[in-house]
Symmetry: C3
Subunit: 108 residues, 3 copies
């Protein structure tokens, strides 16, 4: 069994959930926040059989798109001052997926 | 060491947390959402020693009960239309538990 | 690759996120709740290369501090009564960190 943890953009989450549900994938949704941009995103945790791993990754790749975002990050000065740096463009990927080996999936 | 991720129904969460606390289990609670029913549920993450695994599963089995729920799922049509299907009964299990091997549990 | 799950106190979360971002660590933040004190805390999930594990633990140790908290836990009586016990002091550690082996980290 595998445990997938997929961090996706909120804009793709709804469509991804529909795409995964139809072929019978089961998953749980967490409302999370990106560590760098501090913006809300969506994390799906999904337990699945080894043989369905590629199929689930295909769903994610099919739906989740890279996007660019312009940010003006504050620069934290030494004594608590904050400076504004130049605007910079950040690319947020379609999805970041962690694949872990799962010893047991128990339904109680 | 093992990492347990237990997805349980909100109705059982409070009682389960009390049941786990008394014998000294430690855990962290996440407010999550079921991917299919889109209803709120509770996920507990629990690091524990291998020898206490069965005891924790017994607590979960003792408290968490299966429930039936009637839903009328929308059917998404091809061009964005939404149709109402017949009401259907879904069984939500007491708990879904993932058991993962944990390399280290570090207290800082 | 490793997956780190670090449960830290809210008071340290902001500073820890800055400390981790500067050397290029990437992580996702979850708003969580401690199972015992039922108070809000912060969980960071971080996928990283094996060779950077110690560096990330050093960041956490550097920022996250133990704190004491006085609580008066309710005692749940047999038939639903609640009694107040004596105030007791609980030490909340700087951080609880789970280290798991991650099979794959996939960027889509
Ligand atoms: N320390 C840093 N220095 C400079 N630039 C940085 C950076 N951390 C992130 N970025 C950039 O900002 C984008 C958004 O990151 P954020 O942390 O908000 O949101 C992230 C985070 O929530 C999650 N994520 C990505 N890699 C992760 C990892 N190794 N562990 C945990 N979460 C991760 O996926 C979201 C999208 O990540 P993605 O890599 O596509 O896109 C990232 C990356 O292009
Ligand atoms: N392999 C897995 N990975 C991650 N999380 C998992 C999981 N298996 C179960 N869960 C979590 O546990 C909740 C209860 O699942 P259960 O299978 O008992 O009860 C399920 C099942 O009877 C049914 N169901 C779920 N997904 C379905 C699907 N794709 N097609 C048809 N029925 C589905 O609806 C009930 C509620 O599902 P919901 O998704 O709202 O809520 C799920 C989900 O949050
Ligand atoms: N093995 C594990 N698995 C999952 N999450 C874990 C964990 N160990 C710790 N945590 C998380 O880290 C927080 C701080 O735990 P710590 O052990 O430093 O500090 C703990 C500990 O000193 C004490 N405590 C926790 N559970 C206890 C229990 N069952 N009986 C007596 N004292 C307990 O209360 C403090 C706050 O606990 P709280 O549960 O509110 O919050 C916990 C919990 O969210």
């Amino acid at each position: 069994m595998k445990l997938l943890i997929a961090i996706v953009q909120d804009e793709d989450a709804g469509e991804l959930m529909q795409k995964l549900t139809r072929p019978g994938f089961q998953f749980t949704k967490l409302a999370t926040t990106g560590g760098f941009l501090r913006a809300g995103n969506t994390t799906l945790i999904m337990g699945l059989e080894d043989e369905r791993l590629q199929e689930s990754l295909d769903c994610i790749e099919n739906i989740c798109k890279s996007r660019k975002q312009l940010i003006t990050p504050p620069i934290m000065g030494g004594a608590g001052e904050v400076y504004l740096s130049y605007p910079m463009e950040v690319t947020i990927g379609g999805a970041t997926v962690f694949v872990l080996d799962m010893e047991q999936l128990i339904k109680i």
